[in-house]
């Protein structure tokens, strides 16, 4: 599959189109400005396409960015969504006491578009998939998150994931004296780096140690690329470095919502 994270050279009055998964982006270089438009295709697409289009489509909404005339270079880079994501395992999962497992969360990235050879002008960030809103916590306190319909898996697909998703491995260790039932998992994406892998992009590993209902769980965001696949360069650094020994509510779903 073609690498979607690249630099484009767009001539004046030229329109180029790229598709990364279900997201299609049009970029047009006008005098003094960049113009960007996008739309979404239905379904889970595994397409990466770049090309020049003859005419700028008028049926979609365009945004204009005044950026001078000097550069004709634009860059695409994956960034994490601006809120935490909540994901459900494909099947209700129980981690028995004393055991551990790895869950793979396939997070759809946002595409950061910057202008200039050194990416000095940040134009916009476009989510590759429109995620729905959800709430993690009770009805009086909690946090607003994105909800992922794409489930977390206990194994990697042989066919791989779409180019717009990064794989976040979450290692869950149950050190309590009770079974841990996982119905939902909240991943704080602000602490995740994105690394280039051999077949797809990866984030740093999240290690969750569950100590019990009262003690909560300890979460550690590792600072190196995961070793599930041959991973290379760091593409995007995390927005907020995780503090050590972070205690957070990560699991949810054992209680029902009040009517």
């Amino acid at each position: 599959m073609m690498n979607p994270w690249r630099t484009l050279n767009v001539k004046p009055q030229q329109c180029q189109r790229c598709q990364i998964g279900p997201l299609r982006i049009w970029v047009y270089r006008n005098t003094h400005e960049w113009m960007i438009a996008y739309d979404y295709q239905m379904g889970e697409k595994k397409i990466v396409e770049f090309g020049v289009v003859e005419e700028k489509p008028d049926s979609i909404a365009w945004s204009q960015y005044i950026a001078g005339d000097e550069d004709s270079v634009i860059q695409f880079r994956p960034v994490m969504p601006d809120r935490s994501v909540v994901v459900r395992p494909k099947n209700p999962t129980k981690v028995l006491q004393g055991l551990e497992c790895v869950m793979y969360v396939f997070i759809p990235v946002s595409i950061s578009i910057t202008a200039g050879a050194r990416a000095e002008l940040s134009l916009c960030e476009i989510p590759s998939v429109l995620l729905s809103n959800t709430w993690f916590g009770d009805t009086m306190s909690g946090e607003s998150c994105y909800s992922m319909r794409f489930p977390a898996e206990l194994a990697l697909f042989s066919s791989g994931v779409g180019p717009h998703r990064v794989i976040c491995p979450v290692k869950i260790k149950n050190r309590s004296k009770e079974d841990l039932e996982i119905q939902r998992l909240c991943v704080r994406v602000e602490h995740l780096n994105i690394y280039k892998g051999k077949h797809c992009e990866w984030t740093n590993e999240v290690r969750v140690t569950y100590e019990g209902e009262d003690q909560g769980c300890e979460i550690k965001y590792t600072e190196k690329p995961p070793d599930y696949e041959e991973t290379g360069e760091l593409i995007t650094k995390c927005q907020v470095p995780a503090s050590k020994g972070l205690f957070h509510k990560t699991f949810s779903g054992l209680k029902s919502w009040p009517f």
Partner: protein
């Protein structure tokens, strides 16, 4: 030069002391009330800080005035006695204001709402602009300014709409008796799933609530972030109507069946060429 005789050493000293007390005392009082109010604001709310600042300032000012008067040679005990009588008279005359004042202090420390919250009091709904000692000022959504006396807020019911970060929007949907309830409920669930303002969790509720006069009653309750209220309200109603039209689900309007008696057939009426012809009457031709 008779007026110069008034300036005896004692009187000059008292005048100097008065000026000193004012020039040092007043700025000190202002600084003290500000510092304490900043401290209170940091640990409590801006409203509590405002109350503390005002109470401190006016109490201090009263003390300053008493000291000044005593320096000028007034007899304070007689003055305080007169002030007590005057205070009682003023208290009787300003009962409502005092009641509002005390209610205001309760409101500030009880904190049922804060500046910026949207509240409903009786028929009035608006965003709180300020919580003062005598009244709460609201800006209604149509940009009207409303002043509500604190006493009525303490006595009556106040609903804080934006206290919690998420809210539930309840819609009573009615469908015709001929419709398949299960299918209607599935369609409503799908509408909630596809609307980005509807929260996935807490899950939307679709409950068959009863048999209405004109149709089957269903409660469709969806959760949303409080900031998305208008977006949700505008989109969800349109989506329900459009989707029901697409799926051929009938939304009934109130109607009544009229019979001529308990066991009779409905009135036999035909409409032909805009003329109403009663089939029981002899037909022309």
């Amino acid at each position: 030069m008779e007026w110069l005789e008034w300036f005896t050493i004692d009187k000059t000293m008292s005048a100097v002391r008065c000026i000193l007390i004012l020039t040092i005392g007043l700025p000190l009082l202002l600084i003290l009330s500000r510092v304490v109010s900043k401290f209170v604001e940091k640990h409590y709310t801006p409203q509590s800080a405002m109350v503390v600042r005002q109470v401190l300032f006016y109490t201090g000012l009263l003390f300053l005035i008493i000291i000044e008067l005593s320096q000028m040679g007034f007899k304070i005990t007689a003055l305080l006695g007169a002030a007590g009588v005057a205070g009682m008279a003023i208290g009787f005359a300003a009962q409502t204001s005092l009641s509002n004042l005390i209610s205001g202090i309760f409101l500030i420390f009880e904190k049922p709402f804060e500046v910026g919250d949207a509240i409903t009091v009786g028929d009035t709904t608006g965003t709180i602009l300020s919580i003062d000692l005598l009244s709460v000022k609201l800006r209604q959504f149509d940009n009207k300014f409303v002043r509500i006396p604190n006493e009525s807020l303490i006595k009556g019911q106040v609903t804080n709409i934006t206290r919690f970060p998420i809210r539930r929007y309840d819609i009573n949907v009615s469908v015709a008796y001929k419709e398949d309830i299960k299918r209607v409920m599935e369609v409503l669930q799908d509408i909630a799933d596809k609307n980005p303002c509807c929260l996935d969790e807490p899950e939307p509720l679709v409950i068959f609530t009863g048999f209405g006069d004109s149709g089957l009653q269903i409660l469709f309750a969806i959760w949303f972030l409080k900031t998305d209220f208008l977006k949700l309200r505008n989109s969800i109603m349109t989506e329900i109507k459009n989707r029901f039209d697409q799926e051929g689900i009938e939304i009934p309007f109130p109607h009544q069946s009229i019979y001529t008696g308990s066991a009779t057939r409905p009135f036999p009426i035909q409409i032909v060429d805009n003329q109403i012809i009663d089939s029981r009457l002899p037909q022309p031709g």
